[in-house]
C-alpha cells in the first residue's frame, strides 16, 4: 500500500464579481499566475485570479529539484506553498473556471467563461501555460477516457496489472514509465527518435525494471485500436517497414506540450507555435494585456522562469494602470 498524503487544497468555485471592473484579471494559476497575484496584491490592485486549477503543470510533476530554496520538493507541495502565500492577500480567487474568450470592450477588456460568466478588467495577464500535445492518429480522440490518457499521474492507478504503452521517451514519458512500473504488468515505450531523451537518473531507474519495460525507438504510431475501449496500438519503424501490433489496455501520450492560447487567438499576436508573443516587459500586441510563463514565446519552460515572468508581468500591469490614471 502506498504511503498516504493529505493535501489541503484550494476552495473551489469561490465567487467572482461579474460586471465589476477589476484593475487586473490574471488568467491561469500556475507558477506564473500565482506569482503575478502576489505582486499585484502587494501593489493593492483590485485583482481577480481566475483559473481551472491552482498549481498548473506543477500538479503533474512528481519532484522538482531546481526551484531555488528547495533541494527537493514535490510539485503538489510547491503549488500548495504558492497558494498559501497568495491567500495571505485579499484578492478574489475563482478556481474551476475556464476562460474561453478575451476581447476589448470600450477602454476595458471582457473575459467570458465556459459557464457563461462575464468578467470586466482594466488590464489582463494571460498566464494559461501549456497542456499535452495530442498525437493526432486515428482512434485517439474516440478513445480518450477509454484507455487513452494524457495524465499519467492521474490515471496510472487504474491500470493495475494491465499492459500499457507510453508514447514519448522524454522526461514526461520516462516519468510516466517510472510511475507505471509499480502498477502495470508490462510497459511498452514508443518514440520516433532513436533513444531516450530523458534525464539519465530516470533512464537508470527504468533499466533497473528489466524486461518489464520494452522499447520501440525510431517507431511511429499508426493508429490506436478499439471500439468501446483501447485494445491495442499499431506502430511501424520510421522510414518504412512492417507494422507491429501491441496488445495494450492503456495508451499514455507524453509527447510534449502546446500552449493554452485559444482564448487569445485573433486578439493577440501569436508565433507559429501558437505562443503569445511578448516583449521583455511581458507586453503583448495589445496594450493593457500582458502574458507570462509557458504560454509565451519566452524560451525555456521552467517553474522558476514562469514565476519570474509572472512577477514582471504584474509590475508591468501596475505601471500601465498608473499611466492610464494620469
Amino acid at each position: 500500500m502506498a504511503e498516504l498524503k493529505f493535501l489541503v487544497a484550494p476552495e473551489i468555485g469561490k465567487a467572482l464579481k461579474e460586471d465589476h471592473p477589476y484593475d487586473l484579471v490574471i488568467v491561469g494559476a500556475g507558477p506564473a499566475g500565482l506569482t503575478a497575484a502576489v505582486y499585484a496584491a502587494r501593489k493593492k490592485l483590485d485583482t481577480l485570479l481566475i483559473s481551472k486549477d491552482i498549481g498548473g503543470q506543477t500538479l503533474l510533476t512528481s519532484d522538482i529539484e531546481n526551484y531555488m530554496g528547495y533541494h527537493y520538493i514535490s510539485g503538489k507541495e510547491l503549488a500548495a506553498k504558492f497558494e498559501e502565500q497568495v491567500k495571505k492577500y485579499p484578492i478574489d480567487i475563482a478556481v474551476g473556471e475556464e476562460v474561453v474568450s478575451l476581447s476589448k470592450e470600450g477602454d476595458d477588456f471582457l473575459l467570458t467563461t465556459a459557464g457563461g460568466k462575464r468578467v470586466v478588467a482594466r488590464s489582463v495577464i494571460v498566464a494559461t501555460g501549456k497542456r499535452s500535445r495530442p498525437l493526432n492518429v486515428p482512434g485517439e480522440r474516440e478513445l480518450v477516457g477509454r484507455g487513452v490518457s494524457y495524465c499519467a499521474v492521474c490515471d496510472a492507478p487504474l491500470f493495475a496489472g494491465k499492459d500499457v504503452v507510453v508514447i514519448g521517451a522524454g522526461n514526461s514519458g520516462a516519468t510516466a514509465v517510472v510511475d507505471l512500473i509499480k502498477i502495470a504488468n508490462r510497459i511498452y515505450v514508443v518514440d520516433i527518435m532513436p533513444g531516450w531523451r530523458a534525464d539519465p537518473v530516470l533512464v537508470e531507474r527504468i533499466a533497473a525494471a528489466g524486461e518489464k519495460v520494452e522499447t520501440f525507438f525510431a517507431h511511429e504510431v499508426v493508429r490506436i485500436l478499439g471500439d468501446e475501449r483501447v485494445e491495442g496500438i499499431v506502430i511501424r519503424p520510421r522510414g518504412g517497414g512492417e507494422e507491429v501490433e501491441l496488445k495494450v489496455q492503456g495508451v499514455f501520450i507524453e509527447i510534449g506540450l502546446i500552449p493554452n492560447s485559444d482564448l487569445a487567438k485573433g486578439f493577440l499576436e501569436l508565433n507559429e507555435a501558437g505562443e503569445i508573443v511578448v516583449d521583455c516587459r511581458c507586453r503583448t500586441s495589445v496594450p493593457g494585456v500582458f502574458a507570462a510563463g509557458d504560454v509565451t514565446d519566452v524560451p525555456e519552460k521552467q517553474v522558476i522562469i514562469a514565476a519570474g515572468e509572472g512577477a514582471k508581468a504584474a509590475l508591468s500591469a501596475y505601471a500601465y494602470l498608473i499611466g492610464q490614471r494620469r
Binding site: M1, L4, K5, F6, L7, V8, A9, P10, E11, I12, G13, K52, D53, G55, L59, L60, K76, V95, G96, E97, E98, T113, A114, G115, G116, V144, G145, R146, G147, S149, C151, V153, C154, D155, A156, P157, L158, F159, A160, E228, R229, V230, Q249, G250
Partner: protein, 215 residues
C-alpha cells in the same frame, strides 16, 4: 502514529475554525480485510480532535447492518458526512479521502456544517426543478488534481437537493466497480447508471447532465 503531520493539522484547524453547526462523521469499517479501513477511521478521529464541532461514530459494516442500510453503505471504508441534527445531505466517501481528496472531505464538512451548497443562484434554481432521485458516483484516484472539482460539485448538488446523493469513489480500492463502469480516466462521473462523462466540468454543464439523469 498520526496520519496528519503538524503542518497539515495547523492548516486543518484554520480551515475548520468557526464551523457554524455540528457535523457527524459516520465511519463504516471492518476489523479485517479492508485496505485503508484503519486509516479512514483514524483520519476521521484525528479530524474530530481538531474541531469540537465534529463527532465521529464508527460502525462495523456487518455488525451495524441496519444503520448501513439506512445510509446505503454497501462497501468499505465509507464515510457519511451528516449535518446539524444528524441531517443526511447525501454526502458519501468510499475509500480513503487522502491525497487531493482530503480537501473534498474538508469542504464536505464545512458544507454540512452550514447547510449551504454554495452553488450559483442559477444552479440552485435549476436543481429545484429536479423531478427524480439522482445517484452520482464520482470515480477518482488520490493523485488526480482535477478530481476534487468533480467530487465537490457533486457534493454541492447533494446538499442543494434532497433528491441527490453523491459518492466519491476511490477507483483503485474498488476495482470491480471501476471495471463495471469502464473507468479508464478520472474523474469519471456516473449518474443513475445512465449518464456518464469524464473530466471536471463547469457547474452549468454538470447540472445539465444531472437534470438529464433525473428526467
Amino acid at each position: 502514529m498520526a496520519l496528519l503531520d503538524d503542518h497539515v493539522r495547523e492548516e486543518v484547524k484554520r480551515e475548520l475554525a468557526g464551523l457554524p453547526g455540528a457535523v457527524k462523521l459516520l465511519v463504516f469499517t471492518q476489523e479485517f480485510e479492508c485496505d485503508y479501513c484503519a486509516e479512514t477511521r483514524s483520519l476521521a478521529e484525528e479530524l474530530s480532535e481538531l474541531s469540537d464541532r465534529i463527532e465521529v461514530e464508527v460502525h462495523d459494516l456487518l455488525g451495524s447492518k441496519a444503520v448501513a442500510e439506512v445510509y446505503g453503505i454497501d462497501k468499505i471504508p465509507a464515510i457519511v458526512v451528516l449535518g446539524e441534527g444528524d441531517r443526511d445531505y447525501g454526502i458519501r466517501f468510499f475509500g480513503v479521502p487522502a491525497g487531493y481528496e482530503f480537501s473534498s472531505l474538508l469542504e464536505a464538512i464545512k458544507m454540512a456544517a452550514s447547510g449551504d451548497s454554495g452553488l450559483s443562484p442559477e444552479a440552485k434554481e435549476a436543481l429545484a426543478g429536479l423531478k427524480n432521485p439522482v445517484h452520482i458516483q464520482v470515480f477518482v484516484t488520490l493523485t488526480c488534481p482535477y478530481c476534487p472539482m468533480a467530487v465537490q460539485l457533486a457534493h454541492r448538488c447533494a446538499v442543494e437537493s434532497e433528491l441527490v446523493r453523491a459518492d466519491m469513489i476511490e477507483a483503485s480500492e474498488f476495482p470491480h466497480l471501476a471495471n463495471r463502469h469502464g473507468v479508464y480516466a478520472v474523474p469519471k462521473v456516473v449518474m443513475n447508471e445512465r449518464v456518464s462523462f469524464e473530466g471536471a466540468l463547469p457547474e452549468k454543464a454538470f447540472v445539465d447532465y444531472l437534470l438529464a439523469a433525473g428526467s
